[in-house]
Assembly symmetry: C2
Homo-oligomer: 210 residues x 2
Amino acid sequence: MTSASARAERLDSGDGRQHTEHGLERKQQLLDAAAELFAAHGYSATRIADICTAAGVAKGLFYWYFPTKGALFAELVRTMRLRLRRTQGAVMDPTTDAVTRIADGAEASVRFMADHAAYFALLDVERSDPEVAEVLAEGAGVYLDDVRRLVEEGQRAGTIADAPSDLIAVGVLGAVSSFSNSYRNGRLGSDIAVDELAMFVRRWVLNALR
Amino acid sequence: MTSASARAERLDSGDGRQHTEHGLERKQQLLDAAAELFAAHGYSATRIADICTAAGVAKGLFYWYFPTKGALFAELVRTMRLRLRRTQGAVMDPTTDAVTRIADGAEASVRFMADHAAYFALLDVERSDPEVAEVLAEGAGVYLDDVRRLVEEGQRAGTIADAPSDLIAVGVLGAVSSFSNSYRNGRLGSDIAVDELAMFVRRWVLNALR
DNA sequence: CTGCGTCTTGACCCACGGGTCAAGTTTCGG
DNA sequence: CCGAAACTTGACCCGTGGGTCAAGACGCAG
């Protein structure tokens, strides 16, 4: 253990560094500022100096909290991924059948992505940085596994068509992201409501599964 | 008109500049080299100097043929788009019904994307450059319009479910790109054959339309 | 008060790579 | 052979922006 007499206020954030409560707040300020700037101008167009200016701190301080720009991005992505999964978990009633759970999850995801449009715009905008590419691929894999498991459960119960489960899973995830992306980019005309879209995707997914 | 006595061999490539036949070949060498490098290492990781080295010419020559790096990319994208559309056009028999045409187009697109995987890998890898972002968005719009028109035709004929045509179009395009992307990224396991995938997507699309 | 670790600053460094340029060379028509 | 325009070269320029650093401020425990 690191110094048995560690100060009470000192918090270990997982990586090596020790941050005080104030330090964690500062870190969050940087994350918030970065999220906003990334959303507005994209990842690579946002300079570290910009993030610091927006957060009202000197540039050098950035490196007190993050080793690289990509690390901050990764933290942002992982946090949002956690939130999305929690949201999905909240609506997916484990006592119902797999088909319903998939549809519920898809619908909730569409709503979530519409709510956090600015953030999700980031995800299909930057993979040049290998650090960034990795965390993104990691996310794709997680969701694919989730859905595939559910599909297989449905197939055992006979409620989902018999076809390679990974193909079906890709189809479901692809639908959610395609519709969400198009909605976000305004390719669907601004007149459509989120509710309408979410319901449409639900029906689309249900139709695909049977 | 630009010099009525223009040389016979002088070819106008659309932009202001006049290229000789040899010039066009050289330009193509650069395009080919760039395509290969982009596919291997990504857009931004490929330096102009790399492209020139690969093509066996000095760096300065690049700017004789292209105003910027993004312009070369745009030309690459537009060329490939043209090829894809031609491929689609070849399989979509105008005498058949809209549903069949959509399914044929989707199937052909999946095959085409699998054939040119290295190239298509580029498309979801780089939008930081605004020049790049524009040409990509332009492409998305074109395909969406194409499919939407077909969907509306099918709806008039009563062979496609009655729902907003742009939503259905997004779903179809999303399916094609999702499955193609997953296949390319190896998320579908390397054992699946292109034929298998193409047929699956065809059925998926047909199921979605009815 | 002292010492230590956290926190903060802003000037500085410098590799990188896109883009420029002046000086050629080649080609071809007149 | 002359001139013009296409073509080719490689050294050079320089903005950009990620990352470093030495110095100092702050806060707290002992």
